[in-house]
């Protein structure tokens, strides 16, 4: 336990800024999860592994001498097709089934991806160096890597772009119609099968963007997927499905929580504290809802 962070205002500011920038990235992943959860009623445990896979695409571009920031454009394109492929192979068989079946099936995909990435890319912790330098604030007492600011900016751009796309485009309208009532949408001539595939593809593409940004700002490793899944799940249940400002806010809140937990408890408890927070949030909501004799559905 180390409470120095609260006595030095600059440290507090540093952790808060780091957390907010990190949280925006989390919110982007959570947005993808909320999208496919709301539309297809599926919880995708492999979400984090899609993120890591997207990160490796940017990393390999970096190795081949292309600036990794271009991964933000390339990675979602590739990941879209990966997402559609997963949908066609597995997800379309579990869409109408019990939710636990989808959890277990995507858990299997997660294990599969983890190990395939381990074989293909090795078990080293890697990062793609963007060479953006750092910004110093307040007499050099607060340092912000420019890559973090860049990634937060790109996340916001993609999130806003997607919101506009969902509102204006034909596919976006079809997706929203399917989310409201899949049967009615089918009757009115929406090819729900295609909509589902596109939704999962868009989700994977968002993961690809987030992964590319993570490989620039932080590090990636084949086994780091599950924490991202849990974070996005947590953000979605705190915000509620279909509440976009809520997703952004709770994403940033989670980011700040993590940075503070990192300082106070030590880095070795960082992931543990995220998972523990998930349990606490779920238990809190259970007690809150049980007062009205409702339960999480």
């Amino acid at each position: 336990m180390d409470f120095l962070i609260f006595q030095v205002p600059m440290l507090t500011l540093q952790a808060t800024l780091d957390g907010v920038l990190l949280g925006i990235l989390f919110a982007l992943i959570a947005y993808g999860m909320a999208l496919q959860w709301g539309v297809m009623n599926i919880i995708n445990i492999a979400q984090g592994d899609l993120v890591i896979l997207g990160g490796y695409i940017a990393y390999f571009m970096y190795l081949w001498g292309i600036h990794p920031a271009w991964g933000v454009i390339v990675s979602p394109f590739i990941m879209y097709f990966v997402g559609v492929g997963i949908y066609k192979l597995v997800i379309n068989k579990v869409v109408d089934r019990d939710l636990f079946i989808s959890i277990l099936a995507t858990f299997g995909i997660s294990i599969l991806f983890m190990q395939l990435m381990n074989f293909a890319f090795g078990a080293d912790v890697v990062l793609a160096n963007s060479g953006y330098g750092t910004t110093m604030l307040f007499d050099n007492s607060v340092t912000l890597p420019n890559s973090k600011i860049f990634s937060a900016f790109i996340s916001i751009v993609f999130a806003i772009g997607l919101v506009v796309y969902m509102k204006k485009s034909k596919l976006g309208r079809a997706i929203r119609a399917t989310a409201q009532n899949a049967r009615a949408a089918k009757i009115l001539g929406v090819d729900t099968e295609k909509v589902y595939a596109a939704t999962f593809g868009i989700n994977a593409a968002l993961c690809g963007v987030a992964g590319a940004l993570i490989s620039i700002t932080f590090t990636i490793h084949p086994y780091m997927g599950l924490p991202y899944t849990i974070r996005s799940f947590m953000i979605v249940i705190v915000a509620g499905l279909g509440n976009l400002p809520g997703v952004a806010m709770s994403g940033m809140g989670l980011g700040v929580f993590e940075e503070f937990a990192d300082y106070i408890l030590g880095t070795e408890f960082r992931i543990g504290s995220v998972f523990l927070l998930l349990v606490l949030i779920l238990v809190y909501r259970r007690f809150k809802l049980s007062r009205k004799r409702e339960y999480l559905k």
Binding site: G108, E268, F269, L278, V279
Partner: protein, 349 residues
Amino acid sequence: MNKNIILYAALLIFGLAAPFIFPAFKVQLSILCVLIVLALTWNIQGGEMGYNTFGNILFYGLGMYLCASVQVGMFFPLAEWTESGGEKTFVHTPTQFFQGMAMGLVVAAVIPTIVAGLIGYSILGLRGHYFAICTLGLGVAAGEISGGIEIIGAGQGFTTPPFPDVGSLEARGEFFYFLSFMAVVLTFITVKSIYSTRFKLILNAIRDNEDKAEAMGIQTMKYKIIGWMISAFFCGLAGGIMGGLVGYIDSTDVAFDGREMGVFMVLMAILGGKGTLWGPVIGATVFHIFKEGFWTFFLGWQYVALGVLIVVIVIYFPEGIMGWLREKYPERFGEVVDEADRKAQVELK
């Protein structure tokens, strides 16, 4: 009934004789026993109660750490043991080893039961996939946190006391085999006896419609917690035995191994057929034979094979072996089948 007694007697005799018939496979047979215990206890939640948990691994890992810690801590300072890598500095005499093991197993079974009782009220109030994800988080959190605690070895792991020299080379394998076999027999008897009472009916009522069960005047929460405590008891016991058997405890790779054991227990119960008494036993046996038989061919690709296996079983074979048999031979399961109805069903298909 008579036939059943003969069957159980034959299985018991086979179980007792197994280490002498297959002396080379003693460790594998012990692991099989532990797997059967885990599958049977998972089935109480996942199969009978409809609460699909990933969190029973919590009790398993807890039992593993507790058993080893008690076994060491009763005679030697625990902190020094883990710091020095254990066995080099301190040596258990046979009496100390067995005393420690007995005490450790008791603690390993009782503490997780208490933990299950304490957290049960909060966790079991969640439903469906929230429960599944919450318990998944619980297991991973326990692994990550125990990986940061110095006294039980933190990141470098915890060596359990090595088996003492009692004069026979075979003793270690036989000791652990009979220990785990006893655990299986105990678990099976407990599970079978609770499945023949009202308790099982209540669990099934919770699975089928919890709100209605509550409206019928059943205190569902009480029964859910009791069911979880029973699971926790045997999971802790299995964990304690497994810790001694493996000889080395690592927080995320052995004890709270959600990626292996945590998934295995779900997979075995589903493969065998959840919601049946024999399903988990059959599922665990088939799975273990498959795993040990084919893992060597997939050398390095086990997890890939595991991932594919999960997806295939979950999508194409969710009823399990027992469910499939039941579909095929309903008469054997005591179901009365109307021939005309059956024909009509076949024609409909």
